[in-house]
């Protein structure tokens, strides 16, 4: 295997935003035990801006580091901006990933997209609830 970058190891050593958010505005759960990586991403949104993001991850060094990085990247971004955060952006922010670990960054992107979708579904629901 290729060695991890300094940045990956730094995020792995001190992962940011570990945990769950009570009453989150969006949750994204991806992966399964078969492939060896499971990520849960929680977001809190206020006025269309992501005010908080947390994660729980079962997975390898890259899975933990990408989880940590993606939560860092999206905090303070608008939902639309966050939608544009790609797996490449996560990997780049980490100073690159070994080729066989790129799938971890894909997983992080998917978790984020799912959380954002979840947020949007809830908002629509809330809105239509109000309207009713």
């Amino acid at each position: 295997m290729e060695a991890y970058s300094e940045k990956v190891m730094e995020h792995f050593r001190n992962p940011r935003n570990v945990g769950e958010i009570e009453n989150p505005d969006g949750i994204g759960k991806v992966g399964n035990p078969v492939c060896g990586d499971i990520m849960e991403l929680y977001i809190k949104v206020k006025d269309n801006v992501i005010t908080d993001a947390k994660f729980k991850t079962f997975g390898c060094g890259a899975a933990i580091a990408t989880s940590s990085m993606v939560t860092e990247l999206v905090k303070g971004k608008t939902v639309d901006e966050a939608m544009k955060v790609s797996n490449r952006a996560v990997a780049e922010a980490l100073g690159g990933l070994p080729p066989i670990k790129m799938h971890c960054s894909v997983l992080a992107e998917e978790a984020l997209k799912k959380a954002l979708d979840d947020y949007q579904r809830r908002t629509v629901k809330k809105l239509s609830g109000k309207a009713a």
Partner: protein, 394 residues
């Protein structure tokens, strides 16, 4: 930082006495053993001395030892060499699901060429049932290859028994002894072996040298062709320092193996018990007693192997994992799958393999560090949370 190497099954440091034995063969006795002159004959002499040492260590004759470049070559050579030399006799090979890839991949390759391969299952401890071997033999069976001890989970197979079944049926029997050669007593007659593979760097010898034992009279297609070395079966200029180093490593093993087994078995069992006691939802992989004296393999539920490994590495402890995340295939270890571990537990495995220099303090250090790491990772793990909340059973 304290640095503790507990990955002796991956490779060992070369014993300083081995290095010392090798040194003159780089710069002084440097001839090519195929050369007729004195420089060559001196080199040839030490190669033959080493062959003698290796042979007598396993109860073989010197002419039954072929020097190779390592365990992978020995395995590839044996599987391909026997299959091709005996294809007129039959096209069926029996092996197990938990062999090293250096056995399994050549077998897969032979299947493409039209050979038939039976991959025997193992029980939850990783044991092959000799009865299964007997049942699998048919009129076309030309080779049985079952490893002596598994490199991941340490389980030691009933080799003598399988060998006697092979012999009764007139089928050649090979064992991959890479993990046992120099660590456990091996006698080719007592174990009913026809062929055996071993590798220098697993017994405090050099990397890049290995052996095949092939009982007298066995025909094998050559693996490398060119200079006619090793009676035409394995060409290429002899790796004289490597061969001398292997011989010296065997000499040392002969002397020290007995006390090493005792020493390591005690430490092994302390580490196993220590982990099982200290860490909830942890379990031993492999057989509790039919087990390499230096092998500890545990699954720790709700956490993934590589992240434990990296955390241990940050504390100076080197070990290995069967997690998919450390392999290019993204599949967890075929061995852990074969013993029936669910994927989560296969992903959460750690192998600590002990060695001659391992001390009681090293074990204590691991036991002082590991629970904290597991705790930290479980706090991060979405699986742990649920299991603990909903009280699911392991």
């Amino acid at each position: 930082m304290k640095r503790i190497y507990l990955d002796y099954a991956a490779t060992t440091p070369v014993d300083v006495r081995v290095v010392k034995a090798m040194l003159p063969h780089f710069t002084e006795i440097y001839g090519n053993p195929s050369s007729l002159h004195a420089f060559g004959q001196e080199a040839k002499h030490v190669v033959e001395e080493s062959r003698h040492t290796v042979a007598s260590f396993i109860g073989a004759k010197p002419e039954e030892i072929i020097f190779t470049s390592g365990g992978t070559e020995s395995n590839n050579f044996t599987i391909g060499g026997i299959a091709h030399a005996r294809s007129d006799k039959g096209n069926h090979i029996i092996t197990s699901r938990i062999e090293h890839h250096a056995i399994l991949e050549p077998c897969h390759f032979l299947e493409k060429e039209g050979f038939q391969v039976t991959y025997l299952p193992v029980d939850k401890y990783g044991l092959v049932d000799p009865g299964d071997v007997r049942k699998a033999i048919n009129a076309k069976t030309i080779l049985i290859s079952i490893m002596h001890a598994n490199n991941e989970i340490g389980t030691i197979q009933p080799i003598a028994e399988i060998g006697s079944i092979a012999r009764e049926n007139g089928v050649y029997f090979h064992t991959d002894a890479v993990q046992t050669f120099g660590h456990l007593p091996v006698d080719v007659d007592e174990l009913n072996l026809d062929l055996l593979s071993a590798s220098g760097h697993k017994l405090y010898g050099p990397k890049g040298v290995g052996i095949i034992y092939a009982r007298k009279g066995i025909r094998m297609s050559p693996f490398m062709q060119g200079g006619g070395q090793e009676k035409g079966r394995r060409a290429s200029t002899h790796n004289v320092p490597g061969i001398v180093g292997l011989g010296k490593a065997v000499d040392l093993a002969k002397e020290e193996m007995g006390q090493e087994i005792e020493h390591l078995t005690v430490l092994r069992d302390r580490l196993i018990q220590g982990i099982l006691n200290a860490i909830e939802y942890s379990s031993l992989n492999g057989h509790p007693t039919k087990r390499l004296p230096n092998n500890v393999n545990v699954s720790i539920a709700y956490v993934e192997g590589e992240s434990m490994l990296l955390n241990l590495d940050m504390e100076g402890i080197a070990c290995s994992t069967g997690s998919a995340c450390s392999s290019a295939s993204l599949e967890p270890s075929h061995v852990l799958t074969a013993i029936g571990l669910p994927h989560e537990l296969a992903h959460g495995s750690l192998r600590f393999s002990l060695g001659r220099p391992t001390t009681s303090d090293d074990i204590n250090y691991v036991l002082s560090v590991l629970p904290g790491i597991v705790g930290k990772l479980r706090a991060m793990s979405p699986l742990y949370k649920k299991e603990v909340k909903y009280g699911s059973v392991q």
